[in-house]
Amino acid sequence: MGKSWLKRQSLLGYAFIGPNMLGVLLFFVLPAVYSFYLMFTDYTFMNPEIHFVGLDNIRRMLGDDLFYTALRNTVVFLLSVPVSIMLAFLVAAALNKSVYWKKTLRALYFMPYITSGVAVAFVWMLLFQPADGPINGFLRAIGISHPPGWLSTTESSMFAIDIIWIWFMLGYNMIIYLAALQEIPEELVEAARIDGAKPWQIIRSVVWPLVSPTTFLLLITGLIMSIKTFGIIQAITQGGPGSSTTVLSLFIYQNAFRYYEMGYASAISWAMFAIILLFTVLQWIGQKRWVHY
């Protein structure tokens, strides 16, 4: 009796996850396995001939200047993640308590996250216009005669994208932090206050360590999400000017869907996978030092 109930339960369990597993298998596992195979071929889309070329694609990647440019741009892009997390923590700490218009401000900070990426892209392109955009207009008004060219120079474009991305991620990071801050027992903060801790000391030594698991979560998910980001950069710069905003994901897209070089694009994709994996493993090892559960 008991056994058949158990059996029924586990069958039901499989039935529940079945559709999802089928989807994952069809649209994720199989393509991933296939791309692993393609990595070792010279497959170009529309060309029916596939040859096995061994490690040629990987060799080509390692000798490709653009690959290193993309790698460097990706690193600069990822700098936005910790910055956004720090800012989000400060904003969340401020919005957690005595501030007027608390709820309105929370909603406002969250707005970018639920706005269409393309709309965001176009608004920022207007804001960043070097000659007659509002940002440089403001900078000139306060006495800076040579404001940066933002998206229009190869030196500053990646940082301009960083600023957009920080602003975009802020709301999401803030909401998660707000939830974590609600979980902090009031007694701990109160005890610190009775012991004479100043507000910034409380934040630094009590609140920050207590939300460290959240920081860790945001760091891992943020890095993974950012390294895969494609849409917003494609909408704003398409990787330019020059190749100054070509990040890895864009580089893969260009090779796969602009030049149809699927084999080469697969190789870069797996390189990107290896990088994400390495990042995540390093963080798991590193977290023991600073994450307090």
Binding site: L12, A15, F16, G18, P19, L22, G23, F45, M46, N47, P48, R60, D65, M125, L126, F128, Q129, P130, A131, G149, W150, L151, S152, T153, T154, E155, S157, I236, T237, G240, P241, G242, S243, Q254, F257, R258, Y259, Y260
Partner: protein, 452 residues
């Protein structure tokens, strides 16, 4: 007790709901698979069915022009005359995503009977994959004779894999009123140095920019130089450090920075500058563009203007006018899908289209290339009720009379992009002319070696 039983019922309900939902999901997924399979079978079978059945033959044509700008009128005209062959027009956007969509449709055997190629690099891929039919199959149409010798630039391995249908023109559109005021004649041939002088004077006369350039035309002068001097040197290595390349880079750079008579490239790219609006709105006096300008300049409702437009050929880099070639020639290369079940019908439609059926496309700037089509009628249609707002003599000159030989860009997309990256870095000041050309040569050589 009561509460417990309630709870049990509730979980029971949940379970049943869960099972129902997951069942539904599963069914829909399976349904999707079955549907896909069914569809494929249907497409596969449609050929045979079409030959046997009495109903009209259905053709699908994929093109990049929005239906309302002519193509819908064209297929409506055909369908009214030919009840037995019905054509449907599907629009794809002629960019990376759109071409990918068409290529996916072609390689997965979806219903595409005819498709329009806008670039040699696209046609080349489609030919290699065997989806573009060799036109030699049809003996009743002499492409070289009907379309003219310019058609040959679309040949791949001495064969036509489609029929070029339009006469493409690139030109510099001029604000005729402004030129007259500044005492500048409408040029019939000119160099970039002269164009720079024009731009400077026109800027001084009060325009924000003397010259703006459409990004599709921007790098044409480079190809023009390469067609004259060769993309590669005699020894097979890259010729991208040809003096004319440096000449182009330096002239434009001076126009951007010293004269401020043309927008800095960084600004133009990142603001996605709408150059047609700048020109038609009177902010820029000259515009380097092609016949697709007519789509906007004929539309006075959205682009009101109070000046006449005149036309000049694109300026040349080399001193000697005899070495000059310009982008253009014939375009809108329409191929028949080699796997189509109705090649013969598709061919009938294509001939009719090229020999004048495409006339409703003229207001969008698409003049038929075939000698069977009525050129004057096409010009009349193209200008419509706006004819008085153009300097027609100069328009006819740049379209038909200049006698400048034309080319179709054959450089691969990768190299076009590579070149663009290097000149962008130069115009944005992060490398010198020497570095830019050296980088182009280096990467072009690597490419030449790889594709050997």
């Amino acid at each position: 007790m009561r509460g417990q039983s309630m709870g049990q019922t509730a979980t029971g309900m949940k379970k049943r709901w869960g099972a129902a939902v997951s069942g539904l999901l599963l069914a829909s997924l399976l349904g999707g698979c079955v549907g896909m399979g069914g569809n494929q079978q249907a497409t596969g079978a449609s050929g045979e069915a079409g030959e046997k059945a009495e109903g009209p033959v259905k053709l699908t044509m994929w093109g990049g022009v929005p239906p309302e700008n002519g193509p819908q009128q064209v297929v409506d005209d055909w369908n009214a005359e030919h009840p037995d062959i019905q054509v449907e027009y599907v629009r794809y956007v002629n960019d990376d995503d759109g071409n990918l969509k068409l290529d996916t449709a072609l390689s997965t055997g979806q219903n595409v009977d005819l498709f329009v190629n806008y670039a040699m690099s696209n046609l080349d891929k489609r030919t290699k994959s065997g989806v573009a039919l060799d036109m030699a199959e049809f003996a009743d149409y002499d492409i070289d004779k009907m379309i003219g010798e310019e058609a040959a630039s679309w040949k791949i391995g001495d064969k036509y894999y489609g029929l070029p249908t339009t006469r493409n023109s690139t030109f510099v559109a001029l604000n005729a009123d402004a030129l007259e005021k500044a005492g500048l004649p409408i040029p019939q041939e000119w160099t970039w140095d002269e164009a720079r002088e024009y731009a400077r004077k026109l800027k001084e006369s009060g325009f924000r920019y003397g010259l703006v350039q459409h990004m599709a035309s921007f790098s044409d002068p480079l190809d023009s130089a390469m067609v004259a001097d060769g993309y590669t040197k005699q020894d097979g290595t890259s010729n991208m450090d040809d003096p004319l390349v440096g000449k182009w880079l330096e002239t434009l750079n001076a126009m951007m920075k010293e004269d401020a008579s043309t927008p800095p490239l960084g600004e133009q790219l990142t603001s996605k500058m709408p150059v047609e609006n700048l020109f038609l709105g009177g902010d820029a006096a000259m515009l380097n563009i092609g016949s697709w300008l007519l789509r906007s300049s004929n539309n006075q409702k959205d682009f009101p203007r109070d000046f006449k437009i005149a036309f000049a050929p694109v300026p040349r880099l080399m001193e000697n006018a005899d070495d000059y070639t310009t982008s253009g020639g014939v375009g809108d290369m329409i191929s028949i899908n080699a796997k189509s079940a109705h090649k013969e019908e598709a061919w009938q439609f294509l001939k009719w289209y090229a020999d004048g059926g495409m006339m409703p496309m003229a207001p969008g700037g698409r003049i038929p290339a075939s000698s069977a089509a009525d050129r004057d009628e096409a010009l009349k249609q193209m200008l419509g009720d706006q004819a008085a707002t153009y300097d027609q003599a100069s328009l006819e000159y740049v379209m038909f009379g200049s006698g400048i030989p034309t080319f179709t860009r054959e450089l691969s997309q990768e190299m076009v992009d590579m070149r663009a990256q290097e000149y962008e870095k130069y115009f944005l000041g992060s490398q010198t002319v020497e570095q830019a050309t050296a980088n182009m040569v280096k990467q072009h050589n690597a490419w030449l070696k790889k594709s050997k």
